[in-house]
């Protein structure tokens, strides 16, 4: 393992934010307060789909203590223009309508007005005094219903993109896309076994513990400060500036510690409202969502409908694949159907592939990113069918995957060819894991599935500031969700050759460091890590120059080793090494402060592959599934901080287990969400789970100095199919619809075994 190659990289140090978090000192967004702040609250649509004829705020405005009221009219119209937001694309015309409805309410919970008042009670009363005249419209929740010709249309201007000839009628299908490699029909003609099934998934929420919250303070001179919980404060700045016509230099955004995001905090909800209310009221405005608002109004990931057809030869080689993915985008176009299509078959080297995708709007909250957006949905379907092939052909499911595994040079159906990847190594590690080698316990069954995610690079900035005593502050601009500060500090300590505890990493606000793309795409340790390494190297080159100056030698004659400047050879001369502390102390005499900087657009993110193994038991009378043992195996490139890499694998697996077994949005006939809280939106609790075992496979990414690959997203991809496959092997029933909740599984078992149903 890497621990032997490096002094700090690969070791398990305390995280720099740990003490503050376990003592309660850490400040999350709702912990920020300013003198004279007002409470902001949002009025939300009780209807799934309605025209807004008028909004009358006069009575609310007259209530003593109400300082500002805003509606859709307070936000300027935006162009029909796509912008990247984390791993998703958003349209500004839609974003402004999502934060505050204009002509239509498009889902229950859609914001229609907001007030700022002196107390929460006054704000709540003001909301009740706002009169909205709605014309209720027929609504549609389900993705397949929304695709039908006679479905209620959400957006009269929407025409399906990617269809020829261009349609002249509005539709809820925003886009059709297609990927092809080889000739799928010819491939199926060669197949000896063909399996085809249709699968569905429900939308699932990221379930971050910390609800959205923001505090905005607008000054009379046009400057604005904002404190918020986000995965990307530069993105927040960008969105707010466009939505509110501000210049980026006027808006300073400070991210709080973040209580989870998982992709869901890459967009804005409260921030533009808090700023506008603060501008109108002339006082700071704080807004905090309730859990119910989080569930009703923030974006989960899509639910989907996926059709998979795989053709194989009797020896197990998969010769053709045909996949159709239809994903719910929520109320506005822009589901992760692209990545869903691309990831669907990326684990396999198949000659003949056709993948078609549809992006579909319906009367639900606009989806947001969630760990590996889209990939788990198509993988649930494809991996289930791969398992069925393994059963049909009598081949071990890992062996079947090994036979077809993508390798270096494999060309994917979306065009890219893989560089150095570790799927084969990961499958072999899974096969050799203690879990897979152990026999399956009586009454239990085992399932296996694989998953792929691209991982991304993108823009990062970082600085390394050498303090007067030689300790170093590492400044970057990515909110730390999974321990990234620790990983960045480890790489900086490794470069500098000084103790990890002499390096302190911080997350700076938008005015204190250059642009950083969101914490998303599993990019921070890779891309921002690269910026930190380069910034640290910049500082080191300055340190060497200072030593050269002191010694009066050429800078080429100085090397940096073990935290000190040393002469590169005896030819240079005999000098006592100069430690970082000594060079720092004399900095002002040798040329001034020593600060390293770097900014870059990181290319060459290393794709990640994971293989999960689950053993479980099914109570045949109740349909309750008990997970007995679970192992996540993944190519992690190099585990900079193994504990936090393991934490990512465990967390992803657990979220996947919830997705597989219980999580779903339940709507009534009026399109109103029935389970907007953690009691009835059933994420797993600790007692539902065994310790999630992990196996870290390290196939270094050659484009990164330490071989880093993103690790945070892959682990949510395999769990659903691994669990579904284990259930199929335990019960003889192949579940096609998520979640595999007790009532559904029980009904499926009863349908398959009529004798039990009669009991």
């Amino acid at each position: 393992m890497s621990a032997q190659r490096y002094k700090w990289v690969g070791t398990r140090q305390n995280r720099p934010d740990g003490a503050d978090k376990v003592t309660g000192r850490a400040r999350f967004a709702a912990d920020f307060n300013l003198p004279g702040e007002l409470v902001g609250k949002v009025l939300r649509s009780p209807h799934a789909h309605a025209n807004i004829r008028s909004i009358d705020t006069t009575a609310a405005a007259r209530l003593p203590g109400v300082k500002a009221i805003v509606t859709g009219a307070d936000f300027p119209e935006q162009p029909d223009q796509l912008l990247p937001a984390g791993e998703m694309q958003v349209n500004l015309r839609d974003v402004t309508r999502n934060i505050m409805a204009k002509e239509k309410a498009l889902y229950e919970g859609h914001a229609v007005a907001a007030v700022a008042a002196t107390t929460a009670a006054v704000a709540a009363e003001a909301l009740s005094l706002i009169k909205v005249d709605y014309e209720i419209l027929p609504h549609v929740i389900d993705v397949r219903e929304a695709m039908k010709d006679n479905a209620p249309v959400l957006h009269a201007h929407m025409r399906t993109e990617g269809v020829k000839p261009a349609p002249d009628k509005p539709s809820n299908i925003a886009k059709r896309l297609e990927f092809a490699k080889g000739d799928a029909d010819a491939g199926f003609a060669q197949a000896e076994v063909v399996i085809e099934r249709e699968f569905t998934t429900e939308p699932v929420h990221q379930g971050y513990i910390e609800p959205h919250a923001a505090l905005a303070s607008a000054s009379e001179d046009g400057q604005v400060q904002l404190w918020t919980t986000t995965q990307g404060h530069f993105q927040v700045r960008g969105f707010c500036c466009r939505l509110l016509d501000l210049e980026t230099a006027q808006l300073r955004v400070t991210p709080s510690e973040i209580g989870g995001g998982f992709g869901g905090k890459t967009v804005v909800y409260l921030e533009p409202l808090a700023i506008r209310l603060s501008q109108r009221a002339g006082r700071p405005v704080k807004m905090v969502m309730s859990r119910e608002e989080v569930m009703r109004a923030s974006g989960p990931t899509s639910g989907g409908h996926v059709k998979v057809k795989l053709g194989a030869r009797k020896d197990g080689s998969i010769v053709a694949a045909d996949v159709t993915v239809a994903l719910q985008a929520g109320a506005f176009a822009g589901s992760p159907v692209g990545p869903s299509c691309m990831c669907s078959l990326a684990c396999y080297d198949i000659d003949n592939i056709r993948v078609v995708g549809f992006d579909v709007v319906s009367n639900r909250p606009k989806v947001a990113a969630y760990r590996a957006p889209g990939a788990p949905i198509s993988a649930w379907a494809v991996e289930s069918v791969v398992d069925m092939l393994a059963q049909e052909l009598g081949i071990d499911p890992i062996d079947l995957r090994l036979k077809n595994a993508a390798k270096q040079g494999t060309k994917t159906h979306y065009g890219a060819s893989f560089g150095v990847i570790g799927l084969v190594e990961t499958l072999e590690a899974a096969k050799n894991s203690p879990h897979y080698r152990a026999p399956v316990k009586p009454g239990h069954a085992r399932g296996v599935a694989a998953g792929f995610w691209f991982n991304v690079g993108a823009d990062s900035s970082a600085a390394a500031q050498v303090g007067e005593d030689g300790t170093v502050t590492i400044i970057s601009g990515n909110p730390d969700i999974g321990g990234s500060r620790a990983s960045l500090a480890l790489m900086a300590a490794e470069e500098l050759g000084i103790d990890y505890n002499k390096v302190r990493p911080i997350v700076a606000d938008t005015a204190s460091i250059g642009f950083n793309f969101v914490t998303g795409g599993s990019r921070v340790t890779f891309a921002t890590g690269l910026a930190v390494i380069n910034a640290t190297r910049d500082a080191i080159s300055q340190l060497k120059a200072r030593a050269a100056k002191i010694w009066e030698v050429d800078v080429e004659g100085v090397v940096w080793e073990e935290g000190e400047a040393r002469p590169s050879s005896t030819n240079v001369g005999k000098f006592e090494p100069l430690s970082l502390a000594k060079l720092a102390a004399s900095a002002s005499r040798t040329g001034g402060p020593i600060n390293g900087h770097a900014q870059l657009n990181a290319q060459g993110a290393g794709p990640g592959f994971g293989v999960h193994i689950v053993d479980l038991k099914v109570d045949m009378d109740t349909g309750i599934v008990t997970i007995d043992r679970y192992t996540a195996v993944q190519d992690v490139g190099t585990a900079i901080h193994p504990s936090y890499v393991e934490g990512q694998l465990q967390g992803g697996a657990v979220q996947g287990i919830g997705w597989a077994l219980n999580e779903e949005y339940i709507y009534d006939k009026q399109g109103r969400l029935q389970n907007p809280g953690f009691l009835d939106y059933r994420m797993p609790v600790a007692s539902d789970l065994p310790m999630i075992e992990t196996v870290l496979v390290e196939v270094p990414n050659p484009t990164h100095p330490y071989g880093v690959r993103g690790v945070g997203e892959v682990p949510i991809i395999p769990p659903m199919a691994a669990i579904g496959s284990a259930i199929a092997r335990a019960t003889g029933v192949r579940m096609l619809d998520l979640p595999m909740s007790p009532p559904r599984l029980s009904a499926a078992i009863d349908a398959a075994t009529p004798a039990m149903a009669a009991e």
Binding site: L679, R682, A686, P742
Partner: protein
Amino acid sequence: MMQAEYRAPTSVDEAVGLMAGSGGKGRVLAGGTDLLVQMRAGMQVPGLIVDVKRIAEMTSIVQQDGDWRIGAAVSGAEIHDHAGLRAAWPGVVEAINLIGSKQVQGRASAGGNLCNASPAADSVPALVAAGAVATVQGPNGRRAVPVEQIPAGPGRTSLAPGEIVVSLTLPARPKGSGDAYLRLIPRTEMDIAVVGCGVNLTLSGHNCVAARVALGAVAPTVLLVEAAAKALIGSTLDPASLEAAAAACRAACKPIDDKRGTIVYRTKIAGVLLKRAVAIAAQRAGKH
């Protein structure tokens, strides 16, 4: 939050007086694990809160002539720690201890669980199966009410204005008795019963000589299923009798389809839990 007056009387008489004088705006506060949650959600807006945790009779557990009298406000944690009660009524104790988490157990009471009148309340089917009797005091004095008569519908009780539940009495029962409570939840903790089933049996040798069966979460109130008890009494708890009792449970169900379960599923599970709870109760009865 809203304003409410808070009082913590030290006698039942005083508590009843406060409640009776509150003009219908008074609410009893036991552990508060329902009341405070409902107040925060704006579902309850009391003008007066009467905290009953300082009243000795309502916070003690007493054994008398084989009867067990549990103060209505005794917390789940105290009940858990009472070895004598646990040995005598393991089913009732396990039902109360299923409520919420460790933290909730430190506050939640059986009286609160009963008076909150949720059809899914965990302790109620076990109390009904046990034949528990509530001591109720109001402006017109005390009365004894079988537990199954307290809930009147979701969130409603049969208590008259000003009345409070003082204690719950578990009646003495013969040797060879055992009880059990099982609930089905989709997760292992922190969930609300999709179905709950309480069973209380007395065995003489292999014969079942007395039985009470109660179901939760399958109707607007917890149900005492006399037909299921009848199928068990006089039998040796053989498969045919168990199936007859399970069928009686299924027939008694009048559930709804909601976010917590379907009609089909709840009905099926009522039968499944009956059989499993009988097995546990019978095993416990055999040990006594």
